[in-house]
């Protein structure tokens, strides 16, 4: 069951990054250096190439290996950022999360790692503007977990549109970064949707 879920998650995430490569690239061209789409696709292609090795592992080990793969193949800041997210979740997932609260606890470790790695937090027009609201929605314990996570991701993504970037390349643009969605927030929202879809389908 878990192996199948991991295999499906890898396939779906890779497919999603491939399908949105151009969109992420265009978002990044507007406020960054235009490599987010190709970098994410390269990272997930590498994870997919190791799917036979990763899928049978315990969830913790699988997340750590997937994270390390992103760190070593992405080539931009998103490698260590997404890599730290997955690796820290992997370390926290020594016993597999069985419910919403235990999953939120594991996810929380990953989000904290992204904050440390990026020296950032919500409001700086980054992936954290999606990840932090999703975490809060899961911790709040109201509503259907999948539904609230999706909604938090979508609202978080949209919230980046009118933010002023203070981190990363986009911060060089100052006021000109306002009016554009953040590419890292977009890729995070896409991945939240992938996980939500798979959980829903497996129920």
């Amino acid at each position: 069951m878990k192996t199948e879920f991991l295999r499906a998650a890898i396939a779906r995430a890779t497919e999603t990054m491939r399908a949105h490569n151009q969109e992420l690239t265009e978002l990044d061209q507007a406020i960054g250096d235009g490599d987010h789409g190709t970098n994410m696709q390269r990272g997930f292609d590498a994870i997919e190439a190791s799917a036979d090795e990763i899928s049978p592992l315990d969830l913790g080990a699988a997340l750590q290996k997937a994270g390390m793969t992103l760190v070593t193949t992405v080539g931009g800041a998103s490698g260590p950022l997404y890599g730290s997210l997955l690796m820290s979740m992997g370390k926290a997932a020594s016993s597999e999360p069985t419910d919403r609260a235990s999953f939120a606890a594991v996810f929380s470790e990953g989000v904290d790692a992204v904050k440390r790695r990026g020296k950032s937090d919500v409001g700086a027009k980054t992936m954290l503007d999606v990840l932090v609201p999703v975490l809060q929605a899961l911790q709040d314990d109201g509503g259907d977990a999948v539904a609230v996570a999706r909604q938090a991701a979508d609202e978080g993504l949209e919230s980046t549109r009118n933010m002023l970037a203070t981190k990363g390349r986009a911060s060089f643009l100052g006021e000109r970064s306002v009016g554009h969605l953040d590419p890292g927030a977009r890729s995070s929202a896409l991945l939240v949707h992938v996980v939500c879809d798979l959980i829903e389908e497996s129920q």
Partner: protein
């Protein structure tokens, strides 16, 4: 012989990294060890955590290593590379918040005089003030 702090230059572009390293060698000479790396794992513009780690290891000595980076991803990937080193090595490696070319030349000049790692970093970062 007395060792000097070594310099590692990390750019998104292999040519920029090499050019900056050439300038350091030209201006400071060979007594400071300089390593450079640039380009993502696929050979395009970007940086590569494992290549940065190898570059650090190639010039590491007890006095330490000062890293100069160009843009955001180079810094994040360098931090990741430093954390992947054995702890006793990683604590002797610092990332300078300085312009890559000027910072590298200033850091190497300071290092050539035998200065400790903290002084090398401070000198590189003087460009900011």
């Amino acid at each position: 012989m007395s060792e000097s702090v070594s310099i590692v230059i990390v750019s998104h572009s292999p040519q920029v990294a090499r050019g900056a390293a050439d300038m350091v060698r030209e201006m400071v000479g060979e007594e400071v060890q300089v390593a450079h790396c640039g380009g993502n794992p696929a050979g395009g513009l970007g940086t590569d955590v494992m290549a940065i780690k190898s570059a650090i290891e190639s010039v590491y000595n007890q006095k330490g290593v000062a890293i100069l980076v160009d843009l955001g991803g180079a810094e994040t990937n360098s931090e990741m590379a430093v954390e992947m080193l054995p702890a006793e090595m990683g604590e002797r490696v610092v990332i300078c918040n300085a312009p890559i070319v000027e910072g590298a030349v200033m850091a190497a000049t300071e290092a050539a005089g035998g200065a400790p790692l903290e002084a090398v970093k401070a000198t590189a970062e003087e460009f900011l003030s």
